[in-house]
Symmetry: C2
Subunit: 291 residues, 2 copies
Amino acid sequence: MKGMDVYGCIEAGGTKFVCGVGTGPDDLETASFPTLSPPATVESVAGFFKGARLKAVGIGSFGPVDLDPQSHTFGYITSTPKAGWRQFDLAGAVGRALGAPVRIDTDVNAAAVGEARWGAARGLFDFLYLTVGTGIGGGAMANGAVVHGLTHPEMGHIRIPHDLSRDPYPGGCPYHGDCLEGLASGPAIEARWGKPARELPADHPAWALEARYIGLGLANWVCTLSPRRIIIGGGVFQQAQLFPLVRAELGRILNGYVQARALLEDMESYVVPPGLGNRSGVLGALALASA
Amino acid sequence: MKGMDVYGCIEAGGTKFVCGVGTGPDDLETASFPTLSPPATVESVAGFFKGARLKAVGIGSFGPVDLDPQSHTFGYITSTPKAGWRQFDLAGAVGRALGAPVRIDTDVNAAAVGEARWGAARGLFDFLYLTVGTGIGGGAMANGAVVHGLTHPEMGHIRIPHDLSRDPYPGGCPYHGDCLEGLASGPAIEARWGKPARELPADHPAWALEARYIGLGLANWVCTLSPRRIIIGGGVFQQAQLFPLVRAELGRILNGYVQARALLEDMESYVVPPGLGNRSGVLGALALASA
């Protein structure tokens, strides 16, 4: 594979980097490395791609990332609290190390691109990809292109109703307290119930509350973006019992107002897991490279 | 004007229809009629345009409207409670009456198109137009095109935090109670304070509360759409004292998380009134016609 003309991809996470070479889901070869300092991490990346003749490299990165092509810090990680990574020129460093053109977007935007190309959003021009794990993030496509603007979206930080009498947990977001991420991310679940989400049984009250919060977020995105489908990935949604709960909450919250068959009669194909499983991000980065 | 090759436009509201002919803001001639039954209203429309050689007609309509080009009810008003208008083929009736091609979108989407063409969003590919009046609605552009999808957005119906100890008013939305529209539309202000918004003095506590709710909505849209500018029109925002209050709330709510100069240092040119005043809608319909 490495001797052929192929694409490279990097899912750049705060904990690990997943690198891959290939042309699509059927031939992708990957490896992952822990995220260390920027120079050590880029060295691991360069080692993985050594000898590959890459037409281009796609990066789906943790953020915030400067994605303004006019900016002199385009492709930089910006205000992350992660030691050493603040104002690091990730796209530039990877491009120099690999000698290939680089295309970069956020991890969730890349995942959306991957799901559009090979996954659960094939043929759709308007949809939402959401991930619920260590954080909550969303990538949207509208009119067939990823939604950007002033910066990239930060969907996890929307504010939703928080009924303190049902859920006295104040929320864990250092910026906003009880924004959606502060209430419904994996760490919020752990802080509220005293155990990691994956250790809570399927009938634990945590899941009804989680579904309520995610349902409120989805309702806001339905009202704002009118997506044709919503794909939910991430570690917390490995809990498959969440999907029916979230669909029911979304229907209850919208209460029949948005007149669309998908919402009124076919919620099972409206709110779905990723078609690419846990490879949405890395395949999305590949899709960016080969766009 | 009516003898020339010009465009026609219709701002189709639940209370009145504004019709116009022209080519842009400098030569637009308008007239308005009360919204009666569909046949009587279309007759008034036909009378206004009589003799005009229209290249095309744009309609910015109250909703919900079926905007799916694949649908056999494309251009119909759908589930409105407004007597006689439910399932009325507005685009078809206007096209037949005027013998001209029709382009239709929602009133707020049309207003967004108008602001992009001639108003406060010139040169911007990603922005939000919001109206706060009898209802609350938003039209967004992303990547230079209006955001649609499953249906059109219904931004007024997002859910936001509602602190019942500060504001015991339960909200007036028949579908959702205390969604944003239920808490912050003109009728909600009147129901809460016992007087129409326009009769409340500029130092009335109504405005701080209104700014809080609209600020929460804007924060959610900043996190979701990352607009490069937010334009707020509609009757309630004729109260100019709301703009500084809303800008301050938006800054407080985002709390520095979204690192963008516009939000951190230049909120005055980020949250602005319409460049076209109260003509965003009708000029937007004209922009649809001549797109």
